[in-house]
Amino acid sequence: MALDVTWAVKWLTMCAQAMAEHRLELIELDRAIGDSDHGENMDRGFQAVLDKLAESQPETPGAALKLTAMSLMSKVGGAAGPLYGTAFLRAATTLGDAPDISPAALAQALEAARDGVVARGKAEPGDKTMVDAWTPAVEAAGAASAAGANVLAVLVAAAEAAEEGAAATDPLIARKGRASYLGERSIGHRDPGAVSTALILRAAAGAAA
């Protein structure tokens, strides 16, 4: 499937489904090292994205992602709202009004998204945040695209890397966000934002399959 606006809408719809489905899991992860709201926030945010998509018909993937950025920014709140808002906004900007996304553009958009998260949140890899899912995803996508993979393969590589990255946050000590207050007590728990990042990228691959 081409990464056109239809894909984008399908992706966002699948994101909303994933957040609804994993709402309790994300709440539970956030309960352990945060304040129990990440699942609720993401679920509320992507429901708002769906509402917005029902109202206005974006004509390009970039437009769909921009609308997503605005909805997340205005409905999620907390740390995740501005971070995901920035991520989607930067990706949208990179994509411009292209009707369709090439593997290289895709890798670039993911990188822009990650850079947006880092620019806002100042987290480094290893700080036990969503950056630990974004960064391997960006690297895997870049490598796949450079190796000539198609968009589906690039997305699958990104999703897999994000999932591994999320799992790899388990042994880390959090140094950013609310979990950082726990210090060593954050060890042994998975970062909720890294998990939601993996869900978003897995949905992107799913929509392209």
Binding site: E40, M73, K75
Partner: protein, 333 residues
């Protein structure tokens, strides 16, 4: 989970609606997007004060909107900072042309959302200054964390900066006094029980029957460490020690002592903590000149308390004493 609510997702809407009905003489409530303003906002010539954060900390912040304190409060979802699309119109509503001070508790989410809102408000022509509150000494290695959290000190910043704005201080001066309060206040909290976030349906962390969490924040998040239950004097000593050593108070200095309930602790217990805190301060030759005891910055129905100590000077004392007329703090009027 047993709560006096209808729908976990309507808690903030319905509760803010009720708050607006009960205090229509003081506040006005905007519902879409949600924020609370002083009924007479913007007050001509006055610097506006806006604060906000996740809900579940009531009376903070809505209960502090009114004469001598905040011009607007922005409630997020429970324990979730509000969004720029709420903060921006609240900032505009608070602006009389003299600029607006954002009082922001130091949490990643609050920072990011207020930062974005401030930027956008500046674009709309409002001068914005931000006072970051980070008084929580429970956060030790602030280099390796998101930094100290804003907790009990927030109430004191809002009161004192609010009084400065009310007497006509300009934007820089109001921000400066807010920062001065923040620099001179330290806090630390303890939880005897967790709380239950309505949408989560279960307790925010696990505590054994005989354990307490030392160094909790106000978001139902776990604290610095768990210890076996102790008596009130022992717990008070544990809270005060890092506050006093961090604040470096000398004998003869004057302070405001604030014992804050986390929501589910009987008032009588807060006074037992207060009593001990006064004893300890007295032993060190520190003079408690002003006091506040009660539930002012809470974590839903959590049992526990926080202690805040503010080093006072004459100006801060006078601003503390200045008239205030809000739902939760009122005197002199």
């Amino acid at each position: 989970m047993k709560k006096l609510i209808n729908d976990p997702r309507a808690v903030v809407d319905e509760s803010v609606e009720g708050f607006g009905l009960a205090h229509a003489d003081i506040v006005a409530v905007s519902t879409e997007p949600k924020f609370i303003t002083r009924r007479d906002a913007p007050v001509a010539g006055k610097v506006g004060l806006v604060s906000g954060g996740g809900s579940g900390h009531e009376p903070l912040h809505g209960g502090f909107v009114g004469l001598g304190m905040l011009d607007a409060a922005v409630p997020g979802a429970v324990f979730t900072s509000p969004t720029p699309d709420q903060i921006i119109p609240a900032t505009l509503a608070a602006n009389s042309g003299a600029g607006v001070v954002h009082i922001v508790k130091n949490y990643t989410g609050d920072l990011l959302n207020f930062e974005t809102a401030a930027e956008m408000a500046q674009v709309e022509g409002v001068e914005v200054r931000t006072v970051l509150v980070n008084d929580d000494v429970a956060v030790e290695d602030s280099l390796y964390t998101a930094g100290r959290r804003g907790v009990g000190g927030t109430v004191l910043v809002e009161k004192i900066a609010g009084a400065a704005a009310e007497r006509g201080d300009n934007l820089e001066a109001v921000a400066a006094i807010g920062q001065r309060v923040n620099s001179n206040v330290r806090s630390m909290g303890v939880a005897l029980t967790a709380c239950t976030v309505p949408h989560a349906g279960g307790p925010s962390f696990d505590l054994e029957e005989n354990e307490i969490e030392i160094g909790i924040g106000i978001h139902g998040e776990p604290g610095r460490h768990k210890i076996p239950m102790e008596n009130a004097d022992g717990i008070t000593d544990r809270l005060l020690e890092p506050i006093l050593s961090d604040l470096g108070l000398d004998a003869g200095e004057r302070v405001l002592l604030f014992v804050n309930g986390m929501g589910g602790t009987p008032q009588s217990e807060l006074y037992i903590v207060y009593r001990r805190a006064v004893q300890v301060l007295k032993e060190r030759g520190i003079m408690v000149e002003r006091s506040l005891v009660g539930n002012y910055i809470t974590s839903l129905e959590m049992q526990g308390c926080s202690v805040s100590v503010l080093r006072l000077d004459d100006e801060m004392t006078a601003l503390w004493d200045a008239p205030v007329h809000t739902a939760a703090l009122r005197w002199g009027i």
